[in-house]
Amino acid sequence: MELKRVVVTGLGALTPIGNTVADYWNGLSNGVSGAAPTTRFDAGKFKTQFACEVKGYVPENYFDRKEARKMDLFSQFAMVVADEAVKDANLVEGTYDPGRVGVIWGSGIGGLRTFQEECVNFANGDGTPRFNPFFIPKMIVDISAGHISIKYGFRGPNFSTVSACASATNALIDSFNYIRLGMADVIVSGGSEAAVTEAGIGGFNALKALSERNDSPETASRPFDKDRDGFVLGEGAGALILEEYEHAKKRGAKIYAEIIGGGMSADAYHITAPHPEGLGALNVMQNVLRDANIKPEDVDYINVHGTSTPLGDVSEVKAIQTVFGEHAYKLNISSTKSMTGHLLGAAGAIEAIACILAIQHQEVPPTINHFTDDESFDPGLNFTFNKAQKRDIKVALSNTFGFGGHNTSVLFRQLND
């Protein structure tokens, strides 16, 4: 059977550097850091006392109080970006069959704060179970997809993907596949995460995964810098409307870019450490290029996973050099996590949006916070350090890798016909 083409017709973003797509791009283009001292809880006794939080978020600006109370923050974030994306795509009733519009949404953890609060309440009580009836439906990872479908009446495929920090990219790949197989016309996809809680920071601290640069939060996320010391936990969400190309054309939709490939692989090596030679990263990039049927030379920009951890950054770059060979020197590479922090299960969504906006603006957002070269990295590579760079971008690749050894990549291409 002939596979259908799939395009992106709407975007929504709520990030530590901007609460709409336009503001997010401004932050990316200007190299803004989203890191600041933690406000969501008292982090005084924690090794890491900062995070990349969404700024100025007031639930009452988006929901009535009763509605907000029934949703964990990760679902509220999902609803906010889905709404921006649906409006951006001009998905008005009558222009689509609601039975063929799906929602496939990624989150790595789900309602962590809800879980934490309910368990704390129980532990502080006398053993009488007084769990809130909304506890489970607030906490479960898949509930965001449910909320979005309920709000808009989208009755097509509906579920969530969970693969830690690769979750949203898995959601995009699944959405891409269902649409190209003809099983849906439109899918609201993306991901959301809200894990800046005592359990989130404490848990990642225990893994030694987070930067502990408390004296300078805004320079803590420094992928590929010699003195990088871990990632900075972020929160937020991104939404992408994926749509079958003819369906989009028929309703006169604005088209941002075409999604041309999805790749997946596993490290099969360790629960949290990346494969030292970047084997899984190498495989996933080979897989995505094969799926899209393009050559390494066709890629202009790679938005890397690049979390700013000592090991992860090295193995990903090794894999890029193996896959792209001499072309690696002609690519622009950047880690936008230097600005946004690491949004875990939502990272793949906001980074896919970064790729699409880079194509739209013909500009590569930078890897900020570069101070000292690390001899582990080939000096011939262009990491787009510190300043955005204008260039021709036809094809952009987004990598995301998750604990558990899950690797995912997606490719976006400027629409060229």
């Binding site: 009535d64 009763k66 007084r130 809130n132």
Partner: protein
């Protein structure tokens, strides 16, 4: 209005996000105040917590209006 009735009213306003004027004794949680089955369970739990009582399921089923909640609690609150 009794102290219990005041507290019941406050809980309902908080949990269901309704206006004070809507919370009349005859008002039904589901028909008038927009509660679904989960909201109703949550209300009962809040009453239990606030008034330190345990409301058995078969009696909770009979608490469908503001007035029924107040009468039950006036009778059983410790």
């Amino acid at each position: 209005m009794s102290e219990i009735a005041e507290k019941v009213k406050a809980i309902i306003i908080d949990k269901l996000g309704v206006e004070e004027s809507e919370v009349t004794p005859e008002a039904s949680f589901t028909n008038d105040l927009g509660a679904d089955s989960l909201d109703t369970v949550e209300l009962i739990m809040e009453f239990e917590k606030e008034f330190n009582v345990s409301i058995p399921d078969d009696q909770a089923e009979n608490i469908a209006t503001v007035g029924q909640a107040v009468s039950y609690l006036e009778e059983h609150a410790k």
